[in-house]
């Protein structure tokens, strides 16, 4: 039997454990931030990008306008271009319609699993089926846990005062800390923090964008001397 969809599902299960709590929290927080239940579900099902969704909801709660949230989405999701470029040789043999469909599911987790499998020496795999197995498993986990979160938010009174919004901040801290392993990343983080504080009063929540762009520039500049020394 060829290694196909089931094998993709199996590989995706450990990732599901990590996805469920975030979907739950997102579903619970989106309501108090101003998204109606249908829009919360639609965001998980149609945008399907966890960190961008969390940031969008944070910005929405702070009163940011749609163009600012869209621009932030663009910056936050730029990394998907990297996945797209890296995966491109592995999917170039598929029919256009398949590529158009499967591309939608290329999240961080899906990329990690699928790219790993496609470039592994572990025998052949039915590529579209394996991809589909991973993609649908992760997609169901994210949308399903969002739906449960929306329900919990409506059923449990006062859940928005439990401090779940802090879970979002904590998850961002947890993502940032392991990346601070060279002076360029540390410099970028320091810059982002300081500029974000200084620019906090800017209208339309533009401070976030100003801080992020400045910090990226500082990171790139700090990287150069280390490279020449190496």
């Amino acid at each position: 039997m060829s290694d196909g969809a089931l094998s993709g599902v199996r590989d995706a299960v450990p990732m599901v454990v990590g996805i469920l709590p975030f979907g739950l929290i997102f579903g619970t927080l989106a309501g108090p931030a101003g998204l109606p239940p249908w829009a919360t579900l639609a965001m998980s099902a149609l945008v399907y990008a966890g960190s961008a969704q969390f940031i969008a909801v944070t910005l929405l709660a702070a009163g940011a306008s749609v163009p600012v949230i869209l621009a932030t989405t663009l910056i936050v999701n730029l990394r998907h271009m990297l996945y797209s470029a890296t995966m491109s040789p592995h999917v170039s043999g598929l029919p256009r319609a398949w590529r158009a469909f499967l591309g939608f599911f290329l999240t961080d987790e899906a990329f990690a699993l699928i790219y790993n499998r496609f470039s592994s020496p572990r025998g052949s795999v039915d590529r579209p089926r394996y991809y589909l197995g991973v993609a649908l498993t992760l997609f169901l986990a994210w949308t399903g846990s969002t739906a449960v979160g929306v329900l919990l938010g409506n059923i449990v009174p006062g859940i928005q005062h439990w401090g779940l919004e802090f879970a979002m901040v904590a998850s961002f801290v947890g993502i940032v800390v392991p990346q601070l392993k060279n002076r360029a990343q540390i410099g970028a983080a320091l810059t982002a923090g300081i500029v974000a504080l200084l620019a906090h009063g800017l209208p339309y929540q533009l401070g976030l964008m100003v801080a992020a762009l400045t910090a990226v520039a500082v990171g790139v500049v700090l990287e150069r001397p280390a490279e020449e020394a190496a």
Partner: protein
């Protein structure tokens, strides 16, 4: 209406970024652009974290009762020391909740 616009825009932008190289759009990313992308997560997330933790209603909130600061430091420490994301988030949440509850009682 603006909600529909928000959803459509976010979905369109994200989808376009995911499939851009699958339909013959160029030969891949230039090296400088890939280097730049390395700094995007740290830059964006830190720019969200720092004001969320240190400010309250637009002013500095640097006293012992700041539970968000305590929780964030706890998460950072756990993730740095034990390299476990979910444990870090859980631990940070616990510190946050306990701190918010206990600090007014113990240190008033």
């Amino acid at each position: 209406m603006s909600t529909v616009l928000l959803l459509a825009g976010m979905a369109g932008i994200t989808y376009a970024l995911r499939v851009c190289f699958w339909f013959g759009a160029g030969e891949g990313l230039p090296a400088w652009f890939k280097r730049t992308l390395h700094y995007v997560p740290v830059a964006v997330l830190t720019a969200i974290i720092v004001p969320a933790v240190l400010l309250k209603d637009g002013a500095f909130d640097l006293d012992i009762h700041n539970a968000r600061l305590a929780g964030a430091l706890a998460t950072g420490f756990i993730v740095w020391r034990f390299k476990h994301l979910l444990a870090g988030i859980g631990g940070g949440l616990l510190v946050f909740v306990l701190w918010r509850w206990l600090s007014p009682l113990l240190m008033s």
